[in-house]
Symmetry: C2
Subunit: 313 residues, 2 copies
């Protein structure tokens, strides 16, 4: 009827009629049914965000920036936590498909995608931080942290360290591979030999970082430790701060990601800083760009090494 046109801003409706309709609608608190619109095929305003968790400050800041941007663009942001679990991730994607989400921004969980079926559908996909090859064309917003990690090793070597340990993700993740490669490249650049026992890789998590760091601190001759992952860094820091004061004072520490409190801890935690706001902005730009076709672009943002107290000589 006419009210539909009035509410949809169609031209063919009397000025007074429209205003009357709009007023009444406002008075009775009417809102259009998103379900009906979706069913007609008008699409939804829903965007999904899949993260391992949301307590890690990096992810929290990313989610915060995205939520803000989504509110501005009249999107609804649905968040699912995957805990880096493939099965949970697939479930979340299916649920997003149920509500016909326009797009998903996701941190792909480790493990090769076993030829994912129709888990994506019409959703635009933006991969964050990590990149997985997938059947579906997907944009990617990545971090170029190689130079910063090499730089960390060079810096530590210059401080006289020759026993530099590394904790990072294993080769299942593209980011795990590339960070480890950067670390090793750094060693090579300064002429240090790779010590297998000081290189720990695995499924990245707070617990993994904490346990590996604890072991390194207690049982290895390492004099410096470099982290290659957000949760790993926090876990390792937990072990570092909890360890015997004298022992940790002898260990140089370089974290990954830059939670706001790192600057206040232990004279300042040195770290690889990731430009989280730029990443979030790029991700939102990609999903706001509801352009029809998908050129599947890849963006990369440079990380920076920040030297503070824990890595000065």
């Amino acid at each position: 009827m006419t009210v539909s046109r009035a509410l949809s801003n169609h031209p063919n409706v009397q000025k007074e009629t429209r205003e009357s309709v709009l007023k009444h609608a406002r008075d009775m608190g009417y809102v259009k049914s998103a379900a009906a619109m979706a069913m007609r095929g008008d699409g939804t305003q829903i965007v999904g965000l899949l993260l391992p968790n949301i307590v890690n400050e990096f992810y929290a800041r990313f989610a915060n920036a995205m939520a803000l941007a989504c509110d501005q663009n009249a999107f609804q942001l649905i968040i699912h936590l995957t805990n880096d679990d493939k099965a949970v991730e697939e479930l979340a994607l299916d649920r997003l498909r149920e509500v016909q989400a326009q797009a998903v921004v996701m941190v792909p969980s480790p493990g090769q995608s076993h030829v994912e079926p129709a888990h994506f559908d019409a959703m635009r996909v933006v991969q964050l931080i990590r990149q997985r090859t997938m059947t579906k064309d997907a944009d990617a917003v990545l971090v170029d942290d190689g130079p910063a990690l090499e730089n960390a090793v060079r810096h530590l070597a210059k401080q006289g360290h020759s026993q530099i340990a590394y904790i990072g993700a294993d080769a299942e993740l593209s980011s795990g591979r590339s960070r480890l490669a950067a670390f090793e490249k750094g060693l090579e650049q300064v002429g240090l030999t790779k010590i297998p026992d000081l290189i720990r890789t695995g499924k990245p998590s707070f617990e993994m970082g904490r346990d590996q760091a604890r072991d390194i601190i207690q049982n290895s001759p390492a004099t410096a430790l470099v982290c290659g992952g957000f949760e790993i860094s926090n876990g390792a820091l937990n072990a570092y701060m909890g360890s015997d004061q004298a022992r940790s004072d002898q260990l140089a520490f370089v974290g990954y990601g830059d939670p706001s409190h790192y600057v206040w801890i232990n004279g300042g935690i040195s770290t690889v800083q990731i430009p989280v706001d730029a990443l979030a902005q790029q991700a939102v730009d990609l999903i706001a760009l509801k352009g029809a076709d998908h050129p599947a672009q890849v963006f990369s943002f440079k990380a920076e090494l920040i030297i503070r107290g824990t890595a000065t000589g």
Copy 2:
């Protein structure tokens, strides 16, 4: 047709037919349209969460717990950030109504609700931390922090402090009123007189906390500072850590909320610890309890004073 019954687990369908249907559905990655279900009146699986922000570790942990619980209960969690702005909040609520969210968990923004219209509708409402009187029956999950705050004052007095400052939310918030009252009650209990210049209230935010703390540190004779809010605490801590080392060493500090890193900063930040996981669990229980009627219950969880380095004599 028959496939509908098969997919909906109705009894009236041949075993082999059902299995065939299910198999094909899985193969082609079929998922039910949430839009169609919603339109029929079956309700949605959507739950809204309205928070001021999500970088503050308290809110992040709350959101994390809720997101996890929602995934388990097959809910979809839509997050909107209000930045404590009333207008933004109302907009977010309307958007949640559009998608027929089952429930909203919200931290009400400051300011009396100007007889909110139909902003709620059929959504179950759970107020978090703060409570606002509203036309709609709403559950509330609150923090009983009075005893902990009184305790903080008593502890500081016992350490010899007589010039104790307080930064908190103003009277627009029930929580602001009650925390201030608890602080003053604490003063009274130890026989200290209230010093108006050392009591700062206003719209709670990181900036507000930082600026007030900076002013107190630089221009007041206070020897101790108690915070009455999450962002205020982080802002004040920022000023505290950034201030002249000598000056801040002379100032005892009691924060609010217990971000994981407080324990590592400056010998340990004393603080009022809120049981965030219990709060989140209660909120989820309330929304999972899709029981028809609304008894509008109020829950209260006890906060605890944690004394660390910054409040020891």
